[in-house]
Amino acid sequence: MNVAIAIDKVSKRFPLPGDKEGVLALAELSLTIAPGEFVAILGPSGCGKSTLLRLVASLEQPTGGTVTVNGAAPGLVSAQHALGVAFQDHALLPWLSVHDNIALPFRLAGRRIDEPAIARLLELVGLASFEKARPKQLSGGMRQRASIARALVLEPEVLLLDEPFGALDAVTRRQMNVELQRIWSARQITTMLITHSVDEALFLADRVVVMSGRPGRILREVQVPFARPRDPWVMRSEAFHRLVDDLTAALEA
């Protein structure tokens, strides 16, 4: 089987002051993601799902087990500038314009800035007329769109999304989901999405993984049957509602 992200019996323990045991965030968790697959990780807050993403992003090191991205250690993959990332905090640099924020990955990678690519992405995320604006001048949804454009601009091998719409209101969030679905369908990059919204996971992903609370383990995996590109109407179908009920029950178990 072809594997893009391999998480093999990974444990992560965070030390606590005065406590040798510390907190066990993840316990021997294994998960594989195929190239071009979109996997959503669903779980209650504090279940270690963000830790899982941070391990793949090389922001944390596992206490036990191994994580590989396309067969290599995550640190090597990020050094090759092959990861794209968007966090709940948009993390745009306040002193740069939208255009320069999206061009930042080129500068950090020491590559020539591909202006047509930036222009296409600005168009794709609907910010073409805001390229000179500063993040401060944009709405919350626009900032997240800019941050997603930045994550995509180097055409990464892997896209990591850590609750990118978690701070948005429900209406904007739904719009952003529809847009991300459209953007992702145009270029199917291996993607790991962390979320606590069942609707978001089901609408966007090929496969939904439900995690348990501390220590984080996988409770359930569900293949999402809806064909792409997905129409927002999918969310009103009976099959969608059945899956939402099913996964919500698993989350509450």
Partner: protein, 245 residues
């Protein structure tokens, strides 16, 4: 608007009170009326003296400001990039700051010339303020920005140039604003160790010859020089916060 008006009213009241206290001599003869001080300050015959003193002090202050800023900026940056040096440099700056400049004067006099002592004392004052503001400014990048730079594979130099340095700019400019009055005080104290001219010398001479009005003129000159550049630097600070804050 209301605040500006209230502020202007407060200043006007203070100046009027000064004039009254001076005229009535309630607080003795060492408190002359403001009008006498201003008359002396604008006196044609005094002008060459004041301009020479102000010029000398501003020159020392500017030199000390530049040297102190340069040293503070370089040491804070080096300590940031080489963590092994961080604790040592923090301690050096703290020790330098804890020595009163009055005590440093004689040492500078031995090591340097009478003419360059004012700039040297001034630079020590500036160095500490700039060092502290740059050191703390370089820590101001948010965890989310640091994570972003790490995932995007930025190396140490790119992280410094494209994240930490721009994030430190508002803090640096605040430091530059606070450092100006400190630089001026340093230069005036430094002049007391035998500089040929300057506002500090004017103060000493006026005091020793009991020229009270001249003494107040020297004080007003120092206050004016301090406030003028402080005001300019406050404008610069606002611009820096609007752009990088």
């Amino acid at each position: 608007m209301k605040q500006t008006l209230l502020g202007a009213l407060g200043i006007a009241l203070f100046l009027a009170l000064w004039e009254v206290v001076g005229r009535t001599q309630i607080l003795g003869i060492s408190w002359p009326p403001l009008s006498d001080v201003l008359a002396e300050l604008t006196d044609e015959r005094r002008r060459p003296l004041f301009l020479r003193a102000l010029g000398a002090t501003l020159e020392s202050t500017a030199l000390g400001y530049l040297w102190g800023t340069g040293a503070g900026l370089i040491l804070a940056t080096v300590a940031h990039l080489l963590p092994a040096l961080r604790r040592g440099s923090d301690r050096l700056a703290a020790v330098l700051n804890s020595v009163p400049s009055i005590a440093l004067g004689p040492i500078f006099l031995v090591l340097l010339t009478r003419e360059s002592t004012p700039a040297a004392v001034s630079s020590i004052h500036v160095f500490f303020i700039v060092f502290v503001s740059v050191s703390s400014g370089l820590q101001r990048a948010t965890p989310a920005h640091r994570d972003l730079f790490a995932v995007l594979g930025a190396d140490r130099i790119k992280r410094f140039g494209r994240l930490e340095l721009p994030a430190a700019l508002p803090s640096l400019v605040s430091g530059l604003r606070l450092a100006w009055p400190a630089a001026l005080i340093g230069a005036i104290i430094g002049e007391w160790f035998g500089a040929p001219r300057g506002i500090g010398i004017l103060i000493i001479n006026a005091m020793q010859n009991f020229q009270i009005v001249l003494l107040w003129c020297a004080v007003l000159l120092a206050v004016g020089a301090s406030l003028f550049f402080y005001g300019l630097l406050t404008l610069l600070e606002r611009a820096a916060y609007a752009r990088f804050g």
